[in-house]
Structure formats: structure tokens, C-alpha cells
């Protein structure tokens, strides 16, 4: 850090301290994807976040928002990280209106805590937690999803109200506390998956769902990518309304298709039998979820260090193409590639071992990206070791990038919120 930068931080510290009380020096553990952090501020309320951001604006600090910091290396490294805005003190689940099936929560609340709160009334926030320990804000910023997305969708389908603080410290909200509302622009959708580059989310209101009484999984083996696609197509075109249709595709051999059925005891029993009959082969029911269900494949990477984390999206009919391309690309690059995800929604996550050579990663990314594009989707490298991020086009082509840049310029004209972390250098 230059002396000038140090002086600026020292000057900012006093202002930040009066803004929120808890300001500390950044430690090596705070580094954001290898980028050292000057200061960490831990505000306890939306007004404090606003004060902190106003102070940061005065001193021209680059700010990176953080929840529990479980996905700080996702995206690209920020150009700079003068200040980490840590929201973990804003962890209150503010209001669970059980009769209205909504929950109002601070952004620093752990998703698991929200689930515990609403479970008391037999309800759930129908969002999976693929990265354990995620906060609401972190989950929104990275738009994580799991098997359940097939039936109820993702955060964009469940977030009904949001409070954000802009880079200039202005507090704004959109949406509200009712499930149906078309008044004004839906800013919630805009901040979902924005990696903290537009505004800092401090509070969120979600629609809830009842917890189903019964759940059962039917697993069936798939010999080939075509077979996996055939099985997925069979089940999505049936009238069985699965809660999830997962595909697990290890590095070698065939894979598994898993169908989750949720509902009433009698209903699930009947639908399970119908699913087994429909899928044939070795289809069989299990009471518990199979091991690895909903887990991100890179969490199972046996090598030490950071695995390369991929997210592939495609139209449903592109499943076999993507599985095929993944296997062929991995074989050509001589690396194991595990793909796993929602065959029923068209999203697979993939993992390449931490020690994979950059050229091999690039080859897999290129070929898989081609297959996803043909199938109407995209391939994104969510995370990876520094060499991979330096040597691979991690976000890939992004349509409408110019419009996105214009949105960024309006919200954060000085590029002080996580600059460089998002698509196109945003």
C-alpha cells in the first residue's frame, strides 16, 4: 500500500468510526480473492451502513460488501479493497408473519437462521443453501441455487421487498411486504446476482412456502448423456410435479438422475410409485436424500487449494449435449470433471481439481461454453485459483453488456463498489 493510500485510510478511519463504532484494520484473512483489505467496518443497522458509505464516499474508498465471507472469491478479484463492509452484525430476522407467509430479515442473517425461525410455523424459505453458512445478503449477491429451484425458482421468484444502500449512502427500498405488487421498478431483481457492485443490500423480504409433510427421492442410473436426457425429459413431461430433478455426472462412467417428490403422505407414495414405473431400469425410492444431493461438486474436490468452479446453463433439451461436451473436453484435457445440478431447470455445476493446469481449464471452459451456447445458455467460471482467473475468460460473453455498464454508471458512477468483480470489468 502506498503512503498516500495509508494516509487516506487513516483519515477515513475516524469518520468510519463515528459512523458505526466497529472499525478494524484489515487482516490477511480479510483479503478479497487475494486483494489486501485496508479496513473492515461492521455497521449494525441500515442507517449505519448509510453513514459508512457516505464516509467512504468522502474519502474515495473502494468498498466490498461481505456477509459471512463464504463466497468472497467468487467472480473476479476486485481492483482494490480499501474497506470491507461486513454485515454480519445485521443478523436479525426482523419479522416472520406466518399468516401472510412472509419473512423480513436483515441481510447479515444466516439463511439457516431464517429457516430455523420460519420452520416453527411449518414454513420454509424455498431456497437451498449450497454454500454452508451463507447469509441472506451473500446468497442474494451471488444468486446461489440448488435442487429446489426447479419447482419454486430462485431468489428472483421469492424476494418481494428489498432495502439497499447506494454507493453515495442513499437508502432506498423497492417492493414491499406483500406477495403481489407491481408498483415501481423491481430493484430486487437487479441486485440479485450483482456481486455487490450496484448497492449494498441491508434488508430483504421473502415469500415463504409451507414445508411439505412427506418427501421421497427416486434414483435411477443413466448410462449415457442421451440416457440422462431421456430420463429427465420423461419425468418433466409427466404430471408428477417433481420438486427437483437432479443429475449427478461423475468424471467417469454413467451417472444418476434423482427425482424429489414432495407433498402429502398419500400423494407422495402414489407419485413415487408412478415415477419408478415411468423411469424403469433400476429406479428405486429412498427415504433420505442421496449423498452429495445439492452439494456443489467443488466442495468434494480431494485436492488441496481452490478448485475451479463452473456453472453451466442450458435449455432442457441441451442436457445431453452439455454432459457429452463436458466429458469429451475433460478427456481431451486429461482432467476429471464432475458435473452435478438441476437437469430439470437446466443448471449444472462443475468442478476441476485445484491443481489443474490453466491450459486444461481453458480447454474445458471453451468446449463446455460452446455446448452451453448452442443450447441457449452460458458457462461461467464462478471461482478458481488466481492463475485460472488470470488466464481464463471467466464470465464469458455477456449480451447487453453496454446496458449493464450504463446501469452501473448510474448507481455507482465512481466505481467504488467491488469494481472489477463482475462481468465486463464492472
Amino acid at each position: 500500500m502506498t503512503t498516500a493510500a495509508r494516509t487516506r485510510l487513516d483519515a477515513a478511519r475516524t469518520a468510519l468510526g463515528s459512523a458505526c463504532g466497529e472499525v478494524t484494520d484489515g487482516t490477511p484473512a480479510d483479503a478479497v480473492d487475494g486483494v489486501p483489505v485496508g479496513l473492515v467496518a461492521r455497521p449494525a443497522s441500515t442507517p449505519e451502513v448509510a453513514e459508512v458509505l457516505r464516509a467512504a464516499a468522502v474519502y474515495g474508498l473502494v468498498v466490498v460488501p461481505r456477509g459471512h465471507g463464504t463466497k468472497m472469491s467468487w467472480g473476479r478479484p476486485p481492483e482494490q479493497a480499501d474497506l470491507v463492509l461486513d454485515l454480519s452484525r445485521m443478523s436479525a430476522v426482523l419479522d416472520h408473519a406466518a399468516g401472510d407467509l412472509i419473512v423480513d430479515t436483515q441481510a447479515g442473517a444466516p439463511l439457516a437462521e431464517v429457516q430455523r425461525t420460519v420452520a416453527g410455523a411449518g414454513q420454509r424459505l424455498a431456497l437451498d443453501e449450497p454454500v454452508a453458512g451463507s447469509t441472506i445478503g451473500g446468497m442474494l449477491a451471488t444468486n446461489t441455487s440448488g435442487p429446489g429451484r426447479m419447482a419454486v425458482g430462485t431468489a428472483r421468484d421469492l424476494l418481494i421487498g428489498v432495502t439497499v444502500v447506494r454507493a453515495d449512502g442513499v437508502v432506498a427500498k423497492a417492493g414491499g411486504r406483500v406477495v403481489k405488487n407491481v408498483a415501481g421498478y423491481d430493484l430486487g431483481k437487479l441486485v440479485i446476482g450483482s456481486y455487490g457492485t450496484l448497492a449494498v443490500v441491508t434488508q430483504a423480504v421473502f415469500r415463504l412456502h409451507p414445508v411439505p409433510v412427506a418427501r421421497r427421492v427416486v434414483n435411477v442410473s443413466a448410462d449415457s448423456p442421451d440416457d440422462a436426457q431421456r430420463l429427465v425429459q420423461q419425468v418433466v413431461h409427466a404430471q408428477l410435479v417433481p420438486a427437483a430433478v437432479e443429475v449427478d455426472w461423475p468424471g467417469t462412467g454413467g451417472g444418476t438422475v434423482g427425482v424429489l417428490l414432495e407433498g402429502t403422505e398419500a400423494g407422495v407414495e402414489g407419485r413415487t410409485a408412478a415415477t419408478i414405473a415411468l423411469l424403469g431400469g433400476d429406479a428405486a425410492a429412498a427415504d433420505g436424500l442421496p449423498s452429495g444431493w445439492g452439494r456443489l461438486p467443488w466442495d468434494e474436490d480431494p485436492t488441496t487449494g481452490r478448485a475451479t468452479a463452473l456453472k453451466a446453463t442450458f435449455a432442457l433439451s441441451g442436457l445431453s449435449r452439455v454432459l457429452e461436451a463436458g466429458r469429451a473436453a475433460a478427456a481431451a484435457a486429461a482432467v476429471p470433471l464432475r458435473l452435478r445440478g438441476s437437469g430439470g431447470a437446466g443448471v449444472l455445476h462443475g468442478s476441476l481439481p485445484a491443481d489443474t493446469d490453466v491450459a486444461a481449464v481453458r480447454e474445458v471452459v471453451t468446449r463446455l461454453r460452446e455446448a452451453c451456447a448452442v443450447a441457449g445458455g452460458a458457462l461461467v467460471v464462478l471461482d478458481g485459483p488466481p492463475e485460472v482467473k488470470a488466464g481464463v475468460d471467466t464470465w464469458g460473453p455477456v449480451p447487453a453488456l453496454d446496458l449493464m455498464r450504463r446501469v452501473k454508471e448510474q448507481f455507482d458512477p465512481e466505481r467504488r463498489l467491488a469494481p472489477g468483480r463482475f462481468v465486463g470489468g464492472i
Partner: protein, 518 residues
């Protein structure tokens, strides 16, 4: 009333003028006539002669949408047949600073496609091709002018349908649905237009054609699509929509339950939801609405009911059977005196006919009426309904209630006779007071009809200046010239500063040519 657009229209001999508060949304006739002439020339160059309307008499047929008491004659109407034609007109508008308003079938109920006297009305009704029904992908790709119900008709042979079902679905267009984020009776379970539109080709207010979203989910970058859907035509014009198709359910059961009062029906609604049942729809009508529907379509609802619920359950048979038993018991526990299960499609259609025709039917019991659209938390239903009843009795203005009870979306119909002096004003007052009730109960000023020109003045009651200012940052990113449906949604336009293209802060490495922008 206009009478030309489907079932959900508002009445109004209050027509022929635009209330003063709305004039900022309408423009001055003859303003920027040189720009207008230039746009007209471009339109005639790129479109067949029948696609450009400048004749004053013909122009007048486009002077309003479904909210017929706001009327403005547009300076020019164009009916493009292709995205390129549409984009060429928008580009010309952008070059010459001429405002434009997009319109599908014109069934909107908030004046969202109210024309500008100084602008072009771009009508998408000639862009009516269903491009693809992709069964394997559970998607359809359609033009903006395609009628909502036609998507379902095209998908049904494949076992699929398009879930969002506004009451006007026989005539409203997908493009209009996208602009308004339209709901419908079945969005309780299946969500709104925003949950079902997964991609669009958008003509930006500069006339550029961009793709947002597509066949696959989670496109990288900001979810601009999610912001465009429901932006009421202020961020550009959608020229295709990629929509989700939903598998037809194995079983559908439609139940009609008669209650003595809306209190009991409201309590039953809350109890059903609290029990963990998620019906496809729960609709409520009160005595006055029932009376109107009965007179109009003879739907044979239970005699003497103070309220009815129409409850529809759908899904796998085994689940529906179980849920039906639960719902039946809950209705009985809450005082339902008659429960009627539709035994066939004809009976189901009759039950729904009563509900779906309710707005128009009210025209039979009152010469004029205002359709209100507000949302409250579902648990506040009994309290708010009582407050509406008090408002009605204290003001002497009759209010019929027809609404989506499951999600707390009220549609009070405020009845009046405009021939009586002061009656229109009194009705407006009651209608406004109902919105205040919604806001004070933590609700919203519109659940599905949109803000448009009608409710822009109410936005500051629901949102702070900072909220509205922040929303308009998006507007400034898309439309810094403020030409795409200007004057709608926001009571006060934000000045946007610089025009796009001139970027202040590119990535320094990109700027220096040292890095690719990825």
C-alpha cells in the same frame, strides 16, 4: 366506457379530458412538430402504407387504453410488423427527441399505454406470430402482439399451457403482459408474468436491439430482464418473449363455497393458506359483485350468500384429493353454508364465468364504476373489508368487491352515476381512500394493473423520494432522453445527466488497452 377491450374495462362518461394532474404525462399537441415530421418520414420509409396512421379520425381510435377516462390523441400511430421496423421508428424518435408509447391490445387499466399528444404510439398488434413451441425445453417464443390465451391454445396439444391468466386473457397481448407484469387468478400458486418470462428481445429507447435472458436460466450479468418486466414500457419495447410453459395438471378441482359474510370467507381463506395448502386460486366476491354477475351471466351462485369463494386446486390427483378434503373441512368450519364442486368442465367454466365477468357485469348495476387495484397482507383481509364497508356506508358510495383473496389483491369496484353532480368526485374519493387503507396496512397501491398515469400521484405515499430517485437511476441508464413512455409510473421525472456512450469511468486497464473486459 370504451367497450372495445375485453372484460376488464372501466366505465366513464368522465371522459374526453385528462385530469390536470396527468398533463405532464401527455405532452402538448404540436410540440416538436419538425421532429414528429421526421419520425413520420422514417416510418413511411420502413413500413407499408397501412402501417402508418396520421389521419385525425383514425388517430382518435387509439386515444385511450382500458382506462377510458384518460384520453389523448397521439400525433402518429405506427403498426410495425417486424422488430427492424419497430427499431427504426424508435431510432428516429431517439434522434429527434420524440416520445413514444408502446401498446399491445390496449386493455391496460392504469393508462399505461395512454398516448402522447406530442408522440408516436407504437402498436404491436401486427407482430402476432408464435415463433416456437419448444416442448422439450418447456418454452415458447412469441411476438409481443400474440394474445395471452393463444399461447395456451398453441401449447395445449403438447400438454402444456401458459400460466399467467389475467381476466382479459382472451384479448390482452403478451407484450402488454410483460410491460405490466400481469397477474391473474392463478398467480397465487404459479406466480406472475415476471416468473414466466425468461427472455426477451428488447428494442432500447435508442433503437438498439438487445437480448436479455433466453431459453436457459441465470444469464450472466445483471438481471435486466427482471427489471424490464413490469416497467410499463418505460425501458424500451419487447419485440419477442421467451416464456415458460407449464405442464397441464393431472387433475383440477374447482369449488364454489357460499358464506354469510366476507368476514367468514376471509377467515376461511387465511385458514386454508395457514394449513399449508397452496391452491391454484382463491377468489372472493361479495354480495354486490355476486348480484351483478348473476344478472349478467346467470352463474347460479348460492342464493343469499354474503360472499363466495372460488377455490381451485390442481396437481397430481393424489395430492388434489387430499387437499380438497382439507379445504372442504376448513370451509365448513368457517361457516360455509353451501359447497359446490364442479363435476365437469362445463360447471367449472360456469363458476369461473361468474368471477371473470364480474367487472363488466357491474356495469349492469351501475352506470359508472372505478376498478380499484390494491394489495394488503392476506391476514388483514377481514379488517380492511370492514373498513371498506364503513367507507361505503359513511359516504353513500356503493363498493362491490371482487378479488384475488389468496394473495390479498383487492379489486374494489366503486360504483357511481356520473349523471349525478358530484358523484364522480365522491367515487374518486372513496377509491383513493381504499388505496390509503392498503398503504396503511403495509400493502401496495397496485397488485397487477400497474401505476401508469392513474397512480403516479400515489407513488410518493408508498415510496420515499430516495426510493423513487433510485428506481429512476435504472430509467436513466435505459432512457436518459426520457422518451420511452414518459410521464408514467413516476410523479416527477429525474434528470439523468449525461447521455449513454460517453463513459466516465471505464476499467482503467481496459481504457489503457491493457486488458480485455472480462
Amino acid at each position: 366506457m370504451s367497450g372495445m377491450h375485453g372484460t376488464e374495462t372501466t366505465a366513464g362518461p368522465v371522459e374526453g379530458h385528462v385530469p390536470p394532474e396527468a398533463t405532464s404525462a401527455t405532452g402538448e399537441p404540436g410540440a416538436n412538430s419538425a421532429g414528429m415530421a421526421a419520425v413520420g418520414r422514417v416510418a413511411r420509409e420502413v413500413m407499408p402504407v397501412t402501417g402508418v396512421i396520421a389521419d385525425p379520425t383514425q388517430l382518435r381510435t387509439y386515444e385511450c387504453d382500458g382506462l377510458a377516462h384518460y384520453r389523448v390523441t397521439p400525433a402518429l400511430v405506427v403498426l410495425p410488423e417486424t422488430t427492424e421496423q419497430l427499431a427504426a421508428v424508435v431510432r428516429a424518435c431517439s434522434e429527434h427527441g420524440v416520445p413514444f408509447v408502446a401498446r399491445g391490445s390496449g386493455t391496460g387499466l392504469s393508462g399505461g399505454s395512454l398516448p402522447r399528444a406530442d408522440g408516436v404510439l407504437i402498436v404491436t398488434s401486427r407482430m402476432r406470430t408464435i415463433r416456437e413451441i419448444r416442448r422439450a425445453d418447456q418454452r415458447a417464443v412469441v411476438d409481443p402482439g400474440v394474445i395471452n390465451l393463444d399461447v395456451t391454445r398453441a401449447a395445449t396439444p403438447e400438454g402444456y399451457y401458459y400460466a399467467p391468466d389475467p381476466s382479459s386473457q382472451q384479448i390482452c397481448s403478451i407484450g402488454g403482459n410483460l410491460a405490466e407484469n400481469s397477474g391473474g387468478a392463478h398467480c397465487l400458486k404459479y406466480g406472475f408474468t415476471s416468473n414466466h418470462v425468461l427472455g426477451t428481445e428488447l428494442v432500447t429507447p435508442q433503437g438498439d436491439i438487445v437480448t436479455l435472458g433466453g431459453l436457459a436460466p441465470d444469464a450472466p450479468g445483471y438481471d435486466l430482464l427482471g427489471t424490464v418486466v413490469g416497467s410499463e414500457g418505460t425501458l424500451g419495447i419487447a419485440t419477442t418473449a421467451t416464456v415458460r410453459l407449464v405442464r397441464l395438471p393431472e387433475e383440477v378441482r374447482t369449488l364454489l363455497a357460499g358464506f354469510a359474510s366476507t368476514d367468514e370467507a376471509g377467515a376461511a381463506t387465511s385458514a386454508i393458506i395457514s394449513a399449508g395448502v397452496l391452491p391454484a386460486a382463491i377468489e372472493m366476491m361479495d354480495a354486490l359483485a355476486i348480484e351483478a354477475a348473476e344478472a349478467a351471466v346467470h352463474c347460479n351462485y348460492p342464493a343469499g350468500a354474503g360472499a363466495v369463494l372460488v377455490i381451485e386446486l390442481d396437481g397430481p390427483s393424489a395430492e388434489v384429493e387430499h387437499e380438497y378434503a382439507q379445504v372442504e373441512r376448513i370451509c365448513q368450519d368457517h361457516g360455509a353454508f353451501e359447497l359446490r364442486l364442479a363435476i365437469d368442465a362445463a360447471e367449472r367454466a360456469l363458476i369461473w364465468k361468474g368471477r371473470k365477468s364480474a367487472f363488466a357485469a357491474v356495469g349492469r348495476i351501475s352506470p359508472d364504476y372505478i376498478v380499484q387495484d390494491g394489495v394488503i397482507p392476506r391476514t388483514a383481509l377481514p379488517e380492511v373489508l370492514r373498513a371498506i364497508a364503513e367507507l361505503s356506508s359513511s359516504s353513500g358510495v356503493r363498493v362491490a368487491n371482487v378479488f384475488h383473496a389468496g394473495d390479498g389483491n383487492l379489486h374494489p369496484l366503486v360504483l357511481f352515476d356520473d349523471a349525478k353532480p358530484g358523484a364522480g368526485d365522491a367515487a374518486e374519493k372513496v377509491s383513493g381512500a381504499i388505496l390509503d387503507l392498503c398503504i396503511s396496512h403495509g400493502g401496495a397501491i397496485t397488485g397487477e394493473h400497474g401505476v401508469g398515469v392513474d397512480k403516479a400521484a400515489y407513488m410518493p405515499k408508498m415510496f420515499t423520494d430516495d426510493d423513487l430517485d433510485t428506481m429512476q437511476l435504472v430509467r436513466c441508464a435505459f432512457d436518459p432522453g426520457n422518451i420511452s413512455n414518459p410521464g408514467k409510473i413516476f410523479p416527477t421525472p429525474r434528470l439523468c445527466g449525461e447521455v449513454p456512450g460517453k463513459r466516465k469511468h471505464a476499467h482503467p486497464l481496459v481504457e489503457a488497452g491493457l486488458a480485455d473486459a472480462f
